[in-house]
Point group: C2
Chain length 288, copies 2
């Protein structure tokens, strides 16, 4: 029997409060989402080797996720042991076991056997982030303080829209990325919009939605920081144009604080198109 | 000059994350909202006597508030010192000073000189609470875990509505209150509704809105606990009718956990009607 037949690829959808994590990626001696999740998998699934999780969006320290997606390959023999007396499917069995051992700041929202060709990182068509800002002292809510940036200046939604619009499209985002030698910073920014919400639990907040095929390191927070500098009147559109037109990362851009940022969702193609997409992406470039 | 002319009554609107407070009311050796707020007032306002705050809704340990209202009487001489170099009004001056010394889990959303006759407790026409429940494992959000109750059983919105409707109106809520000798438990429950939200930051949650002229101790959480027992199928409407028809607190009612409850708002009459309302309420009964 070939190697790939003895493994089951499992898709995990997870949410986490990033406050007390040093980001997604495992780092020696630090509490990270990846290490916590891999530790939980090691406890509930019998593995020959330590389980290794691949993720769609490698969030930085303090960044949250509501719709993070990752995958892990599990021995088919271990997968078959997942259904218990109370649950019917292996999916429910693994979800229930993981929830039982994970700390309260990570939650597995869904477990499913991944379709053929699925790769959490390389199959993804896009990632959508939300950045939440409170610019009105009368709306600051201590219950939301861990995922909303309390900004001291009032934001002009018209200016935010004008500034964001300048950055949309397929372009080199080097001015907004931490340099990595040899890696391209060409990305396709599909959406960068701002809304002042009037209803629901986010009422009173200014929320930005930022969607692209992929992001390089600190890109969302750099984009948000640059546009907010225009939206609160400290900078103008000419300044933003000159930043966006430069070829390297601009020291003039203040990166927005991590805790206002949440990875909301990851978009994938239909099951049939999955394998094709992953091969294409892998061939073209290495994504973050 | 008479006593009341030398004092300014100030209305404070406050929000807090109740997680790390032992409730509103001061208790020796415990961290409470009242003691924290009074301590902050003592630091920023010159007082002859320690400042004493009167509140609309005395929340229990772990209960949150987004629209809590209280008042404090401040010496007119101290009030006149509140405007600083940067702020024009005494209101803004006191708000800014309090925000500067309060911990991150309390926020003063607004400060204003109260209208004549205003009493945060006795002028209030009603209090509105929200109780948030997540009954679907795929919607559990670690970012909201401090103010949402994760319930293990699925709720039927039709049953919740039927059960709540039985309890609305002017009635003796003794079966749902912790007894206090001599105090009446007659309250006017104006609204007790349930909604499964599909949009916004609370999407996926079941949220109850509970509004009454006033509540006795642990009343909201007892009402919610009783109705949820019907809504998840553990009890039926006949059981609820028998509980509601009894004359003392029922041991069969499970009080819902504190952390799902948030005081959302306090309703007051128009300025002109304020003094009249306070005198009437004070004469009729002592409210919680």
């Amino acid at each position: 029997m070939s190697e790939h037949r003895s493994l089951v690829r499992v898709r995990l959808d997870v949410s986490y409060d990033g406050t007390d994590f040093a980001g997604w990626a495992s780092q020696p001696g630090l509490r990270t989402v990846q290490a916590t999740l891999e530790g939980a998998l090691a406890r509930v699934v019998r593995h020959d080797a330590p389980p290794r999780v691949t993720v769609a969006g490698r969030t930085d320290a303090g960044v949250h996720a509501r719709g993070q997606v990752c995958h892990v390959d599990i021995a088919a023999t271990a997968w078959d042991l997942m259904p218990g007396r109370k649950v019917r499917s292996a999916e429910e069995g693994l979800a229930s076991r993981l929830r039982g051992v994970l700390p309260p700041d990570i939650w597995v929202t869904e477990v499913r056997a991944a379709p053929v060709g699925f790769d959490a990182r390389f199959s993804a068509l896009g990632r959508t982030y939300a950045y939440r800002v409170c610019d009105d002292a009368s709306f600051r809510d201590p219950l939301a303080r861990r995922h909303v940036w309390w900004h001291d200046r009032t934001l002009d939604l018209g200016l935010l829209a004008d500034a964001s619009r300048m950055l949309i499209g397929l372009r080199d985002f080097s001015p907004f990325c931490r340099a990595r030698d040899g890696a391209t910073a060409i990305r396709d920014l599909a959406q960068f919009s701002w809304e002042r919400l009037t209803l629901g639990a986010d009422a009173g907040l200014v929320v930005s939605t930022v969607r692209a095929d992929a992001f390089c390191h600190s890109m969302v927070r750099s984009l948000v920081g640059a546009v907010i500098a225009v939206g609160d009147g400290r900078r103008d559109l000419d300044w933003l144009a000159s930043v966006a037109g430069s070829t390297a990362r601009s020291g003039a851009v203040t990166v927005a604080p991590a805790h206002g940022l949440t990875l909301e969702s990851v978009e994938y193609p239909s099951d049939e198109a999955l394998a094709q997409r992953a091969a294409l992406t892998r061939a073209r470039r290495t994504l973050d």
